[in-house]
C-alpha cells in the first residue's frame, strides 16, 4: 500500500495530510487532518485534482491591450499548462463585458474561459 502527502488548502490552517492509498489508487485512509474538509480535499486531490485557472487574453480594438479571464469552474490540474498555452494564443474583440465567454470549452475540458473585467 502506498501513500501520498500534501498540504490541505481547504482553509488557512494548512494541515499536512497523509493519505494511504489502496491497490486501485483510491483513498484508504486520511490522517493529519483536523476537520472533515481535509478528507474531502484528500479525496479530490488524490483522484481528480482540479485548480481554478486565470490568465489574460489579447484584445483587439479596445481601450486596454488585454482582458483578464478565469475558468468558470476549476479545470483538471494536469490541464493547467495546456490551458495556459491556448490562452496565450487566443484573441478577443472589444467591447467585452464581465462574464463574456472568450474561450469556450478550453482544451476540451468542457469548461469556458470567461472575462473578469470590462473592455470598451
Amino acid at each position: 500500500m502506498s501513500e501520498r502527502n500534501f498540504i490541505c488548502v481547504a482553509c488557512p490552517m494548512g494541515c499536512e495530510l497523509h493519505v494511504a492509498l489502496d491497490e486501485k489508487g483510491g483513498v484508504a485512509a486520511v490522517t493529519g487532518n483536523n476537520c472533515k474538509r481535509g478528507v474531502a480535499y484528500a479525496q479530490a486531490e488524490t483522484t481528480h485534482p482540479t485548480r481554478s485557472f486565470h490568465s489574460t487574453v489579447r484584445v483587439e480594438g479596445g481601450n486596454a491591450p488585454l482582458v483578464s479571464v478565469k475558468s468558470r469552474a476549476p479545470v483538471p490540474k494536469a490541464m493547467l499548462m495546456d490551458c495556459a498555452k491556448a490562452t496565450r494564443a487566443a484573441k478577443a474583440k472589444a467591447p467585452i463585458a464581465i462574464g463574456d465567454v472568450l474561450l469556450a470549452d478550453v482544451c476540451g475540458t468542457g469548461i469556458d474561459l470567461i472575462a473578469t473585467n470590462r473592455v470598451s
Partner: protein, 425 residues
C-alpha cells in the same frame, strides 16, 4: 475659492470605495473620492487571480471582479463625486474643516474643504534600494507588483528565466503567472525560515509547478551590465547573515522582488498624524479615526492586509465612523482604553477602543513567527477576557479576537487590553 464637501476620501481602491459607499449608506450626501490612477479599483485591477471575496461575498472572485462590485455602485451613486487622475498633495487638519490640496489636468489646483477625511491610499512595495543587495544595476530587476502590471495590464513579459526573492503572496502569485506566460521560474528564495505567504499560494503557485522554495536563503549579488545575467544566492544563518561558502551563481534575466509592503503614509505624516511604528500606519480608534478628530484611515494605508475582504470590512467601519462624525452622532467624551501586542503579537489594530461602544469590537493582530497549537489570549491585566485556540498561527495571516461592550464597560480605570500568544505542547 475652496469647494466644500462633507467627506473627502483619498484613494479609489477597495478601501476608499467601501468607505465612501458606507458613508453614503449612513446618509452622507456630499462625498468626493479622489484617485491618482485613471481608473477606480486600485491594485485589484492587476490582481487577475481568483481567491478574492471568499469571506465577504462567499464566492471566489478575481481582483477586477471584486473591484467591479464596488466600482458600479460608486459610479452610480448620486452622493459620491469621483475625480480620477487626481493627485492629493496635502491634507491640512483644521478645527471645523480639514483642507485637502489636490491637482489634476482639468481642474488644475484644487483647494477643497471637508468636515471629515478618510485616508485610503494603500501601500507600495519595498524596492531594491531598501535591501542593500551588492552588484551592478542592470535592467531586469523589478518589484513583483511592477512585473504583475507589465504582464497583466500591458501585455509585456519582462523576462524568461526568473528568480524571485521573497515569498510574500505577490511573489508566489507571480511565480505561477510567469509560468503560465511561458517563462521558467527557477526558484523562490526566502530570507526567513518560513514563508510569509498564504499556504494556499505556496501549494497552488509553487508546489503545483515544482518551483523550489528555498527558505533561509537570499540574493547576495546581482550580475550583468546592460541586462541582468544572473544572481548569487547564499544560505543565511539564524541571524539572517549569509553563510560564507554557500554562495551559488544562478543565471537568470529577471529578478523579482517580493520583499514587503509599506503603507503609503506621506499625506498622513504631513498632516501631523501619529503613526504606529510597527504597522507604519496611523494609530486609530475602533472607528478607524486617527488622533485628529474627523480624519480616518483604512485599508492597506493603515496596516497591510492579506485579504481584501478584511480591507472592505475595515473601510466600512471608517465610512460609518466618518458619517457619525459628520452628523454629530459621534461620542463627544470618549473614554479610550489602549490595545497592545505582547509575547509574540507584533501589533494590534485598532490601537485604542472607546469604552462606551455599543457593539462588539474586533481586535485584529499579527504574530511575529509561526506558532503551532497556540492559544491567543485577550487580557485586561490578569483577567483573560477571551481566548482562542489555533492549530497554527503565522505572520502571513491576520487574526482577530472580539471584545464586547460589557467587557469594555467593566474595565477598571487605567486598564489596557493586551493580546498575547502562548504555544502549546
Amino acid at each position: 475659492m475652496a469647494e466644500n464637501y462633507e467627506l473627502i476620501v483619498v484613494g479609489g481602491g477597495p478601501a476608499g470605495m467601501a468607505a465612501a459607499l458606507e458613508a453614503e449608506k449612513d446618509g452622507v450626501t456630499k462625498i468626493l473620492l479622489l484617485e491618482r490612477a485613471e481608473t477606480l479599483g486600485g491594485i485589484l485591477e492587476q490582481c487577475i487571480h481568483t481567491g478574492f471575496g471568499l469571506h465577504y461575498f462567499g464566492e471566489e472572485l478575481s481582483g477586477p471582479e471584486y473591484a467591479d462590485r464596488f466600482i458600479v455602485p460608486t459610479e452610480q451613486s448620486s452622493a459620491i463625486e469621483v475625480k480620477l487622475d487626481t493627485m492629493v498633495l496635502e491634507v491640512t487638519p483644521g478645527e471645523n474643516a480639514h483642507q485637502v490640496l489636490a491637482i489634476n489636468k482639468t481642474d488644475g489646483l484644487l483647494e477643497l474643504n471637508a468636515r471629515a477625511v478618510i485616508l485610503a491610499m494603500g501601500c507600495r512595495e519595498r524596492p531594491r534600494g531598501a535591501l542593500n543587495i551588492a552588484g551592478t544595476r542592470p535592467a531586469g530587476v523589478l518589484s513583483a507588483g511592477t512585473a504583475q502590471k507589465y504582464v497583466n495590464m500591458d501585455g509585456y513579459l519582462p523576462g524568461k528565466e526568473v528568480v524571485i526573492l521573497g515569498s510574500g503572496d505577490i511573489g508566489l502569485i507571480m511565480a505561477r503567472r510567469m509560468t503560465f506566460e511561458g517563462a521558467h521560474v527557477k526558484m523562490v528564495c526566502e530570507l526567513m525560515p518560513y514563508s510569509s505567504g498564504l499556504t494556499r499560494n505556496i501549494v497552488q503557485c509553487l508546489d503545483d509547478f515544482d518551483i523550489p522554495l528555498k527558505r533561509s536563503c537570499t540574493v547576495v549579488a546581482i550580475h550583468g551590465t546592460e541586462r541582468l545575467e544572473g544572481v548569487t544566492i547564499a544560505k543565511v544563518d539564524k541571524n539572517r547573515r549569509p553563510v560564507p561558502g554557500t554562495e551559488a551563481f544562478v543565471p537568470c534575466d529577471l529578478l523579482l522582488l517580493s520583499v514587503g509592503l509599506i503603507p503609503e503614509n506621506e499625506l498622513t505624516r504631513g498632516a501631523g498624524i501619529e503613526i504606529d511604528p510597527v504597522t507604519a500606519g496611523a494609530c486609530v480608534s475602533q472607528d478607524r479615526e486617527t488622533k485628529i478628530p474627523g480624519v480616518f484611515a483604512c485599508g492597506n494605508v493603515l496596516h497591510v492586509h492579506d485579504l481584501v475582504d478584511y480591507v472592505t470590512m475595515e473601510s466600512q467601519l471608517a465610512g460609518a465612523g466618518a458619517a457619525a462624525y459628520i452628523q454629530d452622532r459621534a461620542d463627544k467624551n470618549p473614554d479610550y482604553v489602549g490595545t497592545h501586542g505582547k509575547n509574540g503579537v507584533r501589533y494590534v489594530v485598532p490601537q485604542r477602543v472607546n469604552k462606551h461602544v455599543t457593539e462588539n469590537v474586533k481586535l485584529y493582530f499579527r504574530v511575529g513567527q509561526v506558532y503551532k497549537n497556540a492559544v491567543a489570549r485577550l487580557r485586561a491585566g490578569e483577567t483573560v477576557l477571551t481566548q482562542r485556540k489555533r492549530a497554527r498561527l503565522a505572520p502571513g495571516e491576520m487574526e482577530d479576537l472580539t471584545v464586547t461592550p460589557e467587557q469594555l464597560s467593566l474595565l477598571p480605570e487605567g486598564a489596557e487590553l493586551t493580546i498575547e500568544v502562548a504555544e502549546g505542547k
